[in-house]
Symmetry: none
Subunit: 221 residues, 4 copies
């Protein structure tokens, strides 16, 4: 799991010598996605310039159009490329046969390590705002990330309810309550981190304490 979902770009860069033509093309495609990640993160979708994306990817602006039909499609593909590898890992964790709190602690740690401390958090922020203007992006994210995650969360909590590990069914009806602190953490970081840093792990643990009581946490970092 350690490298489960980090930086797709990394694998694309190794050993361009001895690469087949197809591999070189794929590598270039990933270089563009990786550059887009950085530029979109730094400036937002509208303000990001394809010229800068190209420069960072080591290609020329026209080349981007060999791989993606337009700027919006590049954005869509970026979202998919960033989050698809993560969903599997997430589901695997949630479906594990362990006490709910332990699972949720692992999931929290997964979020911290593979989203909050990577550039994925930037992409989430991009999605939050620019998704409004690009329904296709939001739709694909909904299908590929939100629905699977929410379903898994519901299943998990229903089981926990049956087992008596929790007594409230709030989160079964509103799985969004589980990810709410994640969203807040990302938003806070973007806006107020320089004014008042936020202890994300503390925040997530406090949240679990609300759910399960402050009883001893299992599975320390």
């Amino acid at each position: 799991m350690a490298n489960g979902g980090t930086e797709p770009a990394l694998s694309a860069k190794r050993s361009l010598r001895h690469a087949t033509r197809a591999e070189r093309i794929a590598a270039r495609r990933e270089a563009i996605l990786s550059a887009a990640l950085n530029e979109f993160s730094a400036r937002g979708f509208e303000a990001a310039r394809l010229d800068d994306v190209a420069k960072r990817a080591g290609v020329v602006k026209g080349t981007i159009y060999q791989h993606f039909p337009d700027k919006e499609a590049l954005f869509e593909e970026l979202i998919r490329w960033m989050f698809r590898p993560l969903v599997g890992t997430l589901k695997a964790n949630i479906d594990a046969d362990m006490p709910a709190r332990m699972i949720l602690e692992r999931v929290a740690e997964l979020f911290v390590r593979d989203v909050y401390h990577t550039s994925r958090k930037e992409v989430m922020r991009l999605l939050i705002i620019d998704g409004v203007r690009f329904p296709r992006v939001a739709d694909s994210y909904y299908r590929e990330v939100v629905v699977p995650v929410n379903d898994a969360v519901r299943t998990l909590l229903r089981r926990a309810l049956d087992r008596g590990e929790i007594t409230e069914n709030a989160m079964v009806r509103f799985p969004q309550l589980l990810v709410a602190p994640w969203v807040v953490a990302i938003v806070w970081r973007g806006l107020f981190e320089h004014l008042e840093p936020l202890d994300v792990r503390g925040l997530l643990r406090a949240h679990l304490d609300q759910l399960f009581g402050a009883g001893a946490a299992q599975d320390g970092p």
Copy 2:
């Protein structure tokens, strides 16, 4: 409280006949802010065109620059203009001498009615993303909204803790946990409402149930 902080623009538009010069100027300023609210909400800060703002406000583009030095300053003032009137009402509610749950239910209702069901939710979304690029905006929002609200929340929950109304101090340490469902609701609405509508009141009530247990809610709608 009902109309405590809604739509500053509305009052400004009535009866421009018989208005003094100063009143007409102020009205025009508010018309611009109101138009900016709509355009920025619909397209985001970057993509919004001042030409459209002007057209919607019934003035000419140059007039905007009589009232605001540039586009960014207009954005800043928009945030302030939208949220300043709300903070007082919010604090008054939180400081009331009532059981914590009742207070939080009232506050939730305030959010639903005066933010979620008004264009303020759009401004919050604007802040979330574009605030990153305009630290002054984020800073002023932090000082004028975040800090007062978080302080009030802390006081409230500490009192609730003392009185034995709750047993967890999670939210004292992380007042962000109270507003987390608000943020999620706003984000969800922007992205996924058309795919899966969200019952915001239900969400907030479920959240309170998590905190206090599902015991009878006081102060129904």
Copy 3:
């Protein structure tokens, strides 16, 4: 002669207390001209903003239009206001009954003191370029300054020729040759002074040496 043609603005500013209405209006008019002098000099006619002129004059933009029909007319009047007082002094010097070289040395000194070391040199530069686009300005300068000066110069040199003080009639045919070093000095100062300072008095004296030979100058500084 010392104060013969300096800064028309100065006299306008004294004693606004006890001034009649007409005097106050005239003073304001001169304040605007003086401000225009500064702004036009610093930025050129096109780039100078009437808002800045107004600010510097201590009035509001609209007020300028009470005194001058438009920007171009302000420019025209500025030229006249700056140079008219100088022409009389200049002619008086040239017409004096003295040896030509002595007269020309006095005239050179007049140029250095009342043009080159005052803001008039800026106005001359303005005239040189922007005059091209505003023929009315050039025309009035031609009539009021160029023709009288050239006529006086011709008379002077014809007399000097008759008296045997000089042997060449070049300057009688081309009085422009007398002012050529003046023009060069002004241009040089605008462009290259910071790279290579120019000794203007030396330049003018060397020029006279060419005309009369290096024989002892009369009329030291």
Copy 4:
């Protein structure tokens, strides 16, 4: 020498058919410079509109920015493009082993033909005024034109002094005196030509007569 430094634009426009890609790009660059020459000359740097430059060059406004980073850089390059080819010819003439008067007559003719009767005179006028606001332009002109010319003039006149061809060293100390009539001619043409035409060749010859006496000129046109 006849065509030594005239109109760089002319050669660039011939035969765009059968041109290599690089040649076409260079031709377009020159077309833009040539158009800028015309527009800047006609209206001045500030007032000239890049839209008109583009139209005249037969390109679209954006294309200008492919070749020059901004309007000012276009101006700078224009100056260099116009005068660089001339300096070599000028120095070659001055350094020739001939009597000083003959050399200066040839140089005068060079000025008349390749500056005064070409659009270079317009560029000189542009430099005179707008150079003040763009020191980089003035600086590069100083290095590339003024210094070489002044140095050559000094050398020439020192030699003439040694040979007894002249007796005054005024111009050795102030080489600006040689070009003073040039500057005056250009300024006069811009402002007063329509009121009183100026015989430039006569002016320059009269100037040489002042220096050498009216003795027979050598090397008529």
